[in-house]
């Protein structure tokens, strides 16, 4: 592999992992209107469960279970769903900004737990030597195979979520998002639908966390700070909230914005100004986000205006 190809494979792998998270958030926010501001907390749960189950014994207590990779990944998704179920039950009465504050606080609490539950998480030292799949294939083989795995899981998540939101269940979700009282009057169990969407949306976040841990081979609390939640939200909004293809596209575009802007700064700024490069990069990211949202306020691919696949958006002239 040439250098560029190798870097692009790496980029696609990371972007796919982010896209899986964004798909989960899209189910929670895009389709059921639940403002989850603690996305990174669910990723952390998935990552730490995977790390704990697969890493060798370290720091005296952590690890040593040596689970195989596939069961560990499934367990981390289930654990995340379970955590989401508990959190969802606790916050079921909260709406919009109240829910946002509560979930933000929960993510902060998860971050603190990761820092302080040293027997399980290793604290600030993190967990090293987490099992990576495809280790027999050498560095290049690993990169390609893992990229394929991430893309494959992204495609699977997309397919499943697409089927879900196209089903009558998905239409009920959107009905709740638009008008809860009307949906309840039509006999929809609002709490149950919301909770189910919250849990089903959290599961991909846990999967992405586990994938991230397996890809890097190391997790620490510093991987799961609030900025990641912000990035995921930027991905969803830029791509198009309420549209799964938009969520995936947004993840790729926004992650490219973050990584490629750094590359642009290195190439465009003379050496003596590069210490200011970080600030230039931050401004560039902000400016590009604003431009995208000004010109595509519904996101790059917004939500379809019709729930039936037979009708096309273009027929609704003047609305897009």
């Amino acid at each position: 592999m040439t250098g560029i190809a190798s870097y692009l494979v790496f980029f696609v792998t990371l972007a796919s992992i982010f896209a899986v998270v964004t798909l989960g958030l899209n189910l929670q926010w895009g389709f059921s209107g639940q403002f989850n501001a603690g996305v990174v907390g669910f990723m952390a749960v998935g990552a730490y469960v995977y790390a704990f189950l697969t890493a060798p014994l370290q720091h005296g207590q952590v690890g040593g279970l040596h689970w195989p990779i596939a069961p560990a990944m499934i367990a981390s998704v289930l654990a995340t769903a379970l955590v989401a179920l508990v959190i969802g039950r606790l916050t079921i009465r909260l709406r919009t900004d109240y829910l946002a504050l509560a979930t933000f606080g929960i993510a902060a609490a998860i971050h603190q737990l990761a820092l302080n539950l040293e027997d399980i998480t290793g604290g600030g030292r993190g967990i090293t030597s987490i099992a990576k799949p495809f280790q027999g294939l050498g560095p290049e083989g690993f990169a390609l195979a893992f990229g394929a795995l991430a893309l494959g899981l992204l495609a699977a998540c997309h397919l499943l979520l697409q089927r879900l939101v196209r089903s009558p269940w998905g239409r009920s979700l959107r009905a709740i998002r638009e008008d809860e009282i009307a949906a309840a009057a039509l006999g929809k169990d609002v709490d149950r639908l919301r909770l189910t969407a919250f849990v089903l949306g959290a599961a991909p976040m846990g999967l992405a966390g586990a994938l991230y841990a397996a890809f890097i081979g190391y997790v620490s609390p510093y991987d799961f700070t609030a900025i990641v939640t912000f990035q995921i939200w930027a991905m969803l909004i830029v791509g198009g909230s309420g549209n799964n293809r938009g969520a995936v596209l947004g993840a790729f575009v926004v992650w490219a914005l973050w990584s490629m802007s750094g590359i642009a700064v290195v190439h465009l700024l003379p050496t003596r100004l590069q210490v200011q490069g970080g600030a230039v990069q931050a401004i560039l990211i902000g400016a590009l986000l604003i431009i995208m949202l000004v010109f595509r306020s519904r996101g790059m691919i917004g939500e379809s205006l019709h729930s039936s696949p037979v009708l096309q958006d273009e027929t609704a002239a003047g609305r897009s």
């Binding site: 600030g124 090293t128 030597s129 700070t225 490629m260 750094g262 290195v266 590069q274």
Partner: protein, 422 residues
């Protein structure tokens, strides 16, 4: 319309990457990667670190560069986010083909890059600032394959100093009270090993949690161990509380104190008359012509004194890597990894910071002579894990005043490291 926009956007992304590759293939300048936080929570300490790294490269280039070319420092901002640090390192290694990476401030970022990029790509990382002992553990387990180095001393220097201060005084069976965090528990493990090697044995250790109003329980537990001395690894406020309670409950006055307690405040809080037999440890202040050379060069460039974390160590990480690039037979990661140890030859000509000093060193290497880089942090040497040790000192309290008892210099420290088996 939408589709065309998307295709244009997505299509434009790899172009930047291709631009990088075309340049990387040019003969000059040679690239050296740096990953340093310039924005985000660590930005304020990262920016002067990046400035200093560039100063080192400026000196190298003023000294004629490496292998006939100037060095270009390719500086990437990790913003304090490990994902972005890994992304930056991946790009440096894959596309820009930098044969080494310097800088790297956060331990969480250094560990993520070592775990997923540099070791697999066989590119050495010479970190200026990552202090975590986890990296030492990984090196011991063979997980870094020798591709991780750092120019900042680890906490093992403290463990050795504590062991020396304890055994010098004839204490054979000390009890330990230590702060219950990553730092304290790692130091305790190293201390156990060091004291055992120097002919003592720890009677037992009691952890304490920070910022409590009283530590009677912990002190009583430690008293029950019936040690002939107490090694106290505590931060200043808590240390004073523990010290007072230890003395008032009848504990021995044979104390060995941590460097955080090397202050008049501690002496006043506990009472000088109880501390006649107390000793303590600290890093020895590194001084000498090489440190002065760096300080003068820094002041000449930035018109202020080099005060702040990571400035001296990042200069050394960039300078020693540049020397190793000249020393290596080819500009590839493995050759540079091996050369990093060759430019620290104990019998070599001394090379110091600054354009002139580095020119002497680069010329000597070109002429095939051995060199020994003595850096902005004074003399240092990489051990088998890529860590550096540094000198330490033992202090005592004479008539209520702090006094230096003994200095453990770098050679003695290296000998002790070997004896203990670190």
């Amino acid at each position: 319309m939408t589709k065309r926009l998307l295709i244009a956007l997505v299509g434009a992304l790899p172009l930047l990457a291709f631009g990088g590759e075309a340049r990387a293939q040019a003969a000059c300048p040679h690239k050296l990667g740096a990953v340093i936080p310039l924005t985000g929570p660590q930005g304020p300490i990262g920016k002067p670190i990046a400035d200093t790294a560039q100063l080192a490269i400026e000196h190298v280039n003023a000294a004629g560069g490496v292998k006939g070319c100037p060095i270009e420092l390719v500086l990437r901002d990790d913003t304090g986010q490990p994902t972005l640090g890994v992304d930056a390192a991946r790009y440096l290694v894959d596309v820009q083909k930098t044969p080494a990476i310097v800088g790297v401030v956060g331990s969480g970022i250094a560990l993520a890059i070592v775990s997923s990029v540099t070791t697999a790509a066989k590119v050495p990382m010479v970190s200026c600032c990552a202090v975590t002992p986890t990296l030492t553990k990984m090196a011991e387990d063979g997980k870094t394959e020798g591709y991780f180095f750092r120019t900042i001393p680890t906490s093992r220097v403290f463990a050795v100093a504590h062991a020396v201060a304890t055994t010098d005084r004839g204490y054979k069976n000390p009890a330990v009270i230590y702060v219950n965090n990553d730092f304290g528990s790692t130091l305790l493990r190293d201390l156990e090993k060091a004291i055992a090697a120097l002919g003592g044995k720890i009677a037992g250790a009691v952890p304490y949690n920070e910022n409590q109003p009283s530590y009677r329980t912990e002190v009583n537990q430690a008293l029950a161990l019936k040690g002939d001395a107490l090694i106290l690894i505590a931060f200043s406020q808590d240390g004073a509380t523990i010290g007072r309670e230890w003395i008032s409950l009848g504990g021995t006055q044979n104390l060995v104190l941590h460097n955080t307690l090397r202050s008049q405040d501690f002496i006043n809080a506990v009472g000088a008359r109880f501390l006649g037999k107390a000793a303590g440890i600290d890093n020895a202040q590194v001084a000498g012509p090489s440190v002065d050379a760096f300080n003068a060069a820094f002041k000449a460039k930035f018109n202020r004194d080099p005060v702040g974390p990571g400035l001296h160590t990042v200069y050394d990480s960039a300078a020693v890597t540049a020397l190793a690039m000249q020393q290596a037979r080819a500009l590839d990661g493995t050759a540079i990894r091996d050369a990093l140890r060759l430019v620290q030859d104990a019998a070599g000509e001394v090379v110091m910071p600054g354009a002139e000093g580095l020119k002497k060193g680069l010329d000597a290497i070109k002429a095939g002579r051995k060199v020994r880089y003595v850096g902005a942090t004074g003399p240092f040497g990489f051990d088998k894990n890529g860590d550096v040790s540094g000198p330490a000192l033992v202090w005592k309290i004479d008539d209520g005043k702090l006094a230096t008892d003994k200095v453990i210099d770098l050679e003695q420290m290296a000998a002790l490291f070997r004896r203990i088996g670190y």
